[in-house]
């Protein structure tokens, strides 16, 4: 063991304000939220890597794309290494630590002692160059669980394929301590000590518990032969088969014999919705997950392929999910079969799999598949954790459950908001970064003079470099180049030498060539902060990755020299613009006074912001009267009272927003009262909480009204009124029809609440009048998550469920004055005719009209009029316009509890934007050189973030530094470089290109 060996425990010793336990999407999201506000975060996970299940997926529904990186901070981008999240999370305020558990939390919120138990990785990250020698010599082979156990890995290995820096970790369970790796490691990075270390952190403000739920293991219930039949796989394992970074490099071949896969079946609800194994819940995401897999698999398998999904209910309960599924079925040719598959058999003497079932027309069908994918959901329970209820611990979910990405992100930010609220109320401050040094201007503005640091640690390279030749290249560039050769740049001494040389020397441009351990992101920060170099004046060349693609032994001198030459040339063109700091207006405009708006307003006020709450009608509260959950109702009532009393909240009733201008952080908006009076308010951000309403679509199924044909909402109201006919009875037969006017064009989305409403109504009626016959005609019952119990309960109570297809909906016959419902019962295979006392039509919800606001704020709406978020997975409460957020029914159909969470999440986004007094921006930001700008406006049209605008009167183009994300499209389109992107100035890039040839 070398002296510099830094154990993980050592690294954790830096101040930590917030500990986040669990590094799945939720954990990552909260960690980024805190980090963006300046708090020091320790993100830990029991697993050997972060990212949770997402590290195994290449694409996620509902758009079959990735885009995880869009979660990264958009403001102060420079604090983060702007790189694909699958490679890791690199933020100057976030320390990640895997194989680490929180074991105890003590104290009071705001001042906690947190005990961690850390399993060392065995490999010193700051020294490992990722050369992989250890892996080569390790004699132990174990199944690679990450890749579905289809291939083997070593005991020392890379936990996820993308990991960066790619330092290895030791799996202590597999390790035999033979020591082969220790000997071979050229940087002496390995120590064979897997002993757990205990670390105690003091003065932690809060702990976030984002534990997630584990996947169900289908081997536990062997109905489908998982673990026995090699071609029966789980949905997550199947992701690996499809992935280019998987065991078959993306070739669609099956595990048993490598045969190309052409026909696949998905079986839904494995381990979920199964009362027999105590799984009375729906895992919520598997339906969409399967549809996505089917679409992608079919694409990969090409023509003559077949993808079939066997399901009970297709739970497409997200806003865009129904259309997604319809497209899969109608355009992409995925087959959907409603059927609980009984068993899977081997077909004759092959590895093929046989599934027998009865189809819609009552015929027995035998189908043979190359592969069967089990849509396994979650395990029943959380893993236990005794400190979950301790003071200062914030749990992301109180109940176990899976959520899709958008819901997870919303849930996560909602928790971040709560944590920060506690912190703000206790008046705690983030541990300040020392990084606010500004470089010395005279130093920066001198003519470039260079120092090039070459790490001699050639030993970690499998390819020789002729250093003399390299030095010659550098000297040829210009005279007076300083070259420094150091032994091991990654070691403490090495680092000291470099620092000294720079401090004593004249150079104001620096290139360091070393392996990625020495040149990792945090080093660069440290370096620029301490030595006063602007970030862009330092370049770190990871020589190991550069030569990795070569054959072993191949001489790398030319390539390395070229690269050094290119980079030095580019460094010479860099210039420094001191970052502007912008003051923020700590006032928030909230539009809409329903539950979402009230929640957002009260929460923001609690953080100390001033809120301008604008409501179109003459009262706040929205559809308060209709809220059925009494606790939620109380909550909203309390908020309502609070908002009216709160001096920080100004309420404007009967008021509309008619005009806005400015940029995130500083906006000016004009309000108009019904009386015609206008006023201007100044604010820093906007939340759109314009809400939605029920939509009475009864007319789509009944031609004339009938007093006993009502909507589900009406029925609910009647059941709450003690003197109503329904409560008083007698009631002999009640029929409900689901999805009336929903989930088909033009309103092709699930309203999320109608199934629950109908089930609750049915249960209530059964409780009141057990003898009543209740029939529910449905397409798919959307009791996602734990609400599945309602479905189970209703069935138990004898409610009868009759499925129908859109092409054969139940018919309502009122000819005789009675209400007769005719339909077909696919289970019985015959027509049914029911005479109903009451018919409840489950009608849905729709968003309120926002066309005027759309003009004002220039956001997009979906075809159904919901406000379009910036990214349906990763930025669900942002609009495309930075600084304008959205929550609640305005964006998507949702239950009230979900709506409230969204409001918290939107408030959190506001915090990130406005919390700091000033915001600075990343050097990679566009700026306009107005003197040569021709004001053509092309850049404004191509900017994807609406970050540019034109001052029409003065005819000048401006860039909004916060909204600009540095994509550089504007600079590429601007013909004369009146727009330039920091760090990517054209002469720099072109000189790099030129010097590479």
């Amino acid at each position: 063991m070398t002296e510099e060996m830094t154990s993980k425990a050592d690294r954790i010793s830096t101040p930590v304000n917030i500990v986040v336990a669990g590094a799945g999407i939720t954990g990552i999201r909260t960690a980024i939220d805190f980090a963006a506000s300046g708090y020091k975060v320790l993100l830990v996970d029991k697993a050997m890597h972060g990212g949770g299940i997402l590290t195994r997926l290449d694409h996620q529904f509902p758009n079959d794309h990735c885009g995880m990186c869009r979660m990264l901070p958009m403001i102060d981008r420079g604090t983060d290494k702007e790189t694909c999240l699958r490679r890791g999370l690199f933020h100057e305020n976030i320390l990640t630590c895997y194989s680490t558990e929180v074991v105890a939390v003590d104290g009071k919120a705001g001042d906690l002692a947190v005990n961690l138990s850390v399993v060392p990785t065995g490999v010193d990250k700051t020294r490992c160059s990722g050369c992989g020698e250890c892996e080569r010599v390790c004699p132990v082979m174990v199944p690679d669980h990450f890749n579905g156990d289809w291939v083997n890995r070593k005991a020392i290995f890379l936990p996820t394929p993308h990991l960066s820096p790619d330092s290895r970790v030791i799996d202590w369970q597999a390790c035999t301590s033979c020591g082969a790796c220790v000997e071979v490691c050229p940087t002496h990075a390995i120590t064979l000590n897997g002993e757990r270390e205990q670390v105690e952190l003091k003065g932690v403000y809060a702990v976030v518990l984002a534990r997630g739920v584990n996947l169900y293991d289908p081997a536990l219930t062997d109905v489908y032969g998982y673990g026995v039949l090699p071609n029966v796989v789980t949905a997550t394992d199947f992701e690996r088969i499809m992935s280019s970074s998987g065991p078959y490099q993306g070739e669609m071949m099956r595990p048993s014999d490598g045969k190309p896969i052409k026909k696949i079946a998905w079986i839904q609800c494995v381990g979920s919705r199964n009362v027999m194994i105590g799984a009375d819940f729906c895992s919520s995401v598997c339906c969409m997950f399967a549809v996505k897999e089917a679409i992608l698999a079919k694409q990969k398998m090409g023509k003559e392929s077949d993808a079939v999904i066997f399901y009970m209910d297709m739970r497409t309960f997200g806003r865009d999910f129904q259309r997604y599924k319809d497209e899969a079925e109608n355009v992409k040719g995925i087959r959907f079969v409603r059927m609980r598959v009984h068993s899977i058999q081997l077909h004759e003497n092959t590895d093929d799999l046989l599934i027998s079932y009865v189809n819609k027309d009552g015929e027995q069908v035998d189908e043979i598949f190359d592969l069967v994918v089990l849509s396994t959901g979650r395990k029943k329970d959380f893993l236990t954790c005794d400190w979950a209820e301790a003071d200062g611990v914030f749990q992301v979910d109180r109940l176990p459950g899976f959520k899709d990405i958008a819901d997870s992100v919303v849930g996560a930010s909602a928790i971040s908001e709560q944590v920060l609220r506690m912190i703000h109320q206790q008046n705690l401050k983030p541990d300040k970064n020392e990084s606010d040094h500004s470089p010395d201007i005279s130093f920066v503005e001198r003519r470039p003079s260079y120092i090039t640091v070459l790490c001699d640690c050639n030993t970690s390279l499998s390819n020789p470099i002729d250093f003399q030749k390299l030095e010659n290249t550098i000297h040829a560039l210009s005279s007076g180049h300083q070259i420094l050769r150091v032994e091991q740049a990654c070691s403490k001494e090495g680092w000291q030498t470099i620092r000294k040389a720079i401090m004593d020397g004249q150079a104001n441009r620096c290139l360091i060539m070393a392996c990625d351990a020495a040149v990792d992101f945090s080093r660069k920060r440290e370096f620029t902060n301490e030595l006063g170099f602007p970030v862009s004046f330092v370049d770190l060349l990871d020589v190991v990755s550069l030569v990795r693609r070569f054959q072993e032994g191949e001489d790398a001198t030319d390539t390395v020299s070229k690269e050094v030459f290119m980079r030095l040339n580019r460094l010479g063109t860099r210039s420094y613009a001191s970052p502007l700091k912008q003051a923020q207006v700590k006032t928030v405009l909230v539009i809409g006074g329903g539950p979402a708006g009230l929640q957002a307003a009260s929460v923001l006020a609690a953080h100390g912001f001033t809120v301008k709450l604008v409501e179109k009608t003459d009262r706040l509260g929205g559809k308060l009267a209709q809220i059925e959950e009494s606790d939620l109702k109380q909550h909203v009532e309390k908020m309502l009272a609070g908002v009216n009393k709160n001096p920080q909240i100004d309420v404007y009733l009967e008021t509309e927003v008619i005009q806005t201008s400015g940029r995130p952080g500083v906006c000016m908006t004009k309000l108009k009262h019904a009386s015609g009076e206008t006023r201007i308010i100044h604010h820093g951000a906007t939340i759109l909480a314009t809400g939605g309403k029920e939509v009475d679509t009864s007319a789509s199924v009944v031609s004339e009204s009938h007093e006993r044909i009502i909507t589900g909402f009406d029925m609910d109201a009647m059941l709450k009124a003690n003197d109503s006919d329904l409560v008083k009875g007698p009631v002999s037969t009640v029929v409900m029809i689901q999805c009336v006017g929903s989930r088909q064009e033009p309103n092709n989305y699930c309203s999320r609440i109608c199934c629950l409403k109908s089930l609750k109504n049915a249960i209530r009626i059964k409780d009141l009048h057990p003898e009543t016959d209740i029939y529910i005609f449905y397409r798919d019952i959307m009791t996602y998550g734990n609400s599945e119990i309602l479905y189970t309960e209703a069935r138990k109570k004898g409610v009868l469920f009759i499925p129908f297809d859109t092409d054969n909906p139940p018919r309502i016959n009122m000819a005789s004055g009675a209400i007769i419902i005719e339909g077909d019962d696919p289970f019985l295979g015959e027509p049914v005719q029911i005479k109903a006392d009451w018919l409840a039509l489950a009608t849905g919800v729709m968003p309120n009209d926002v066309s005027d606001l759309k003009q004002v704020f220039s956001f997009e709406t979906t075809q159904d009029g919901f406000i379009q978020e910036a990214d349906s997975k990763w930025r669900p409460v942002d609009t495309e316009r930075v600084g304008v957020f959205v929550c609640g029914l305005a964006r998507t159909p949702a239950r009230l509890d979900e709506v409230l969470l969204e409001a918290n999440a939107a408030a959190q986004r506001v915090l990130t934007l406005l919390e700091k007094d000033h915001t600075s921006y990343s050097p990679v930001t566009a700026r306009v050189r107005n003197a040569i700008c021709s004001v053509c406006g092309i850049c404004i049209e191509v900017c994807p973030y609406q970050a540019r605008y034109m001052d029409e009167d003065r005819r000048v183009v401006h860039v909004d530094n916060l909204a600009c994300q540095g994509c550089g499209t504007c600079a590429a389109e601007c013909p004369n470089n009146a727009t330039v992107l920091g760090e990517y100035e054209d002469h720099g890039v072109m000189s790099m290109i030129e010097s590479s040839l």
Binding site: G572, I932, S934, G937, E973, N976, N977, D986, S995
Partner: protein, 371 residues
């Protein structure tokens, strides 16, 4: 739009144009007229902005000369909405360029009246002046004598876009051999203006169609040849090197280009102002370099900026001190680029340039991904 035109009779055609323009001013139909006129000190017609009806003497829009493409000058007057109504007399290539400039937010023509013409072409300045020595009435005789028409520029000879489809009014010169000039209303606006001027209204003459048809045939044939020859000037690169061997990097071509709208060309900015070290590096690499540098880079970059918008007016060739046939080459490239983008410059004010309309007609994306 209409099948009739307004004619003035018994008048010298040039005077007829003057009369019409003066009448527009005198009747306050417009506040100003933008039209080519001889300056008191030179015989070459230059764009002029005229607000007074009695300053029409030197107006000469029919002269077969145009030292510059007037679109850029026009756009400087129309930079933004001034409330002034202006009639612009433009050649078709100028009109197309102006429309491109509108798309680039360089001007606003909402309040302008565009008077186009059936363009018979222009001569290079020198040729024009020489012809003027022999033909004092060149602006009329040019339209009557085919041998004079043979002196127009190569670009004009091979131009097949000699009509002004987007103008409000077209000045029809096809009847000039019979001493007649016509004003063809092409929009509501044009119709209203002309009908207020007490001109005689007649059916469009049949010879107009015939003349246009013949002209189109000849021009297209010529164009084919010019384009073919031009391609050989570019391809292979070796040929292009010969073509631009005498290029001085004076950037005259880009100054003359009506759609090169940048305030300052990128080749004049810091991006191409190389440090001595860079020049040494370059010299070292090759042993010797020619100065000024970036000649090919300049031409190709310029193409990448304006090929889609090139209206083929030929002014770049006209201004080149080294006599490089810039326009021929650029038109040849532009044709290909415009075909690729299915984009026709100057055709429709509302059609957005390809780079802005990146979501439309994005064949690369639509066809999967191969290039």
């Amino acid at each position: 739009m209409s099948t009739y035109m307004y004619k003035t009779k018994d008048q010298n055609p040039i005077d007829a144009v003057k009369t019409v323009l003066s009448a527009m001013l005198a009747k306050s139909q417009v506040d100003a007229v933008f039209v080519a006129a001889r300056t008191p000190y030179a015989k070459l017609p230059m764009p002029a902005l005229i607000t007074s009806a009695d300053k029409m003497d030197d107006v000469d829009p029919l002269a077969p000369a145009a030292p510059l493409n007037a679109a850029r000058q026009a756009s400087s007057i129309l930079k933004y909405e001034t409330g002034k109504k202006i009639a612009l007399v433009l050649r078709p290539c100028e009109e197309r360029a102006l429309i491109e400039l509108v798309k680039l937010n360089q001007c606003d023509i909402g309040n302008a009246v565009i008077i186009g013409m059936t363009c018979m072409g222009r001569m290079e300045n020198g040729t024009y002046l020489k012809c003027l020595d022999d033909h004092e009435d060149l602006s009329i005789s040019f339209y009557v004598k085919p041998d004079l028409q043979a002196h127009i520029t190569t670009t004009c000879k091979s131009c097949d876009k000699f009509l002004s489809p987007n103008a409000d009014i077209t000045i029809d010169v096809t009847g000039m051999k019979d001493g007649i000039i016509g004003f063809l209303p092409q929009s509501e606006k044009g119709e209203t203006l002309l009908s207020g001027l007490y001109l005689a209204r007649e059916k469009t003459s049949t010879y107009r169609e015939k003349t246009i048809e013949d002209m189109l045939k000849t021009r297209q044939k010529e164009k084919e040849q010019v384009m073919k020859a031009a391609k050989a000037l570019l391809n292979p690169l070796e040929n292009f090197q010969k073509t631009v061997a005498t290029c001085l990097n004076c950037y005259n071509c880009r100054t003359a280009c009506p759609v090169c709208y940048c305030k300052e060309c990128v080749f004049l900015t810091d991006i191409f102002a190389h440090k001595p070290e860079v020049l040494f590096q370059r010299a070292k690499k090759k042993g010797a370099i020619k100065l000024p540098q970036d000649t090919s880079m300049f031409h190709l970059t310029r193409l990448s900026h304006m090929a889609h918008a090139c209206v083929g007016c030929g002014h770049c060739s006209s201004v080149c001190p080294s006599g490089i046939p810039v326009a021929d080459m650029f038109r040849a490239v532009a044709e290909e680029v415009q075909r690729l983008y299915q984009y026709e410059p100057g055709k429709d004010m509302h059609e957005r340039p390809p780079y802005i309309a990146y979501r439309e007609k994005n064949t690369f994306i639509e066809q999967g991904e191969d290039r």
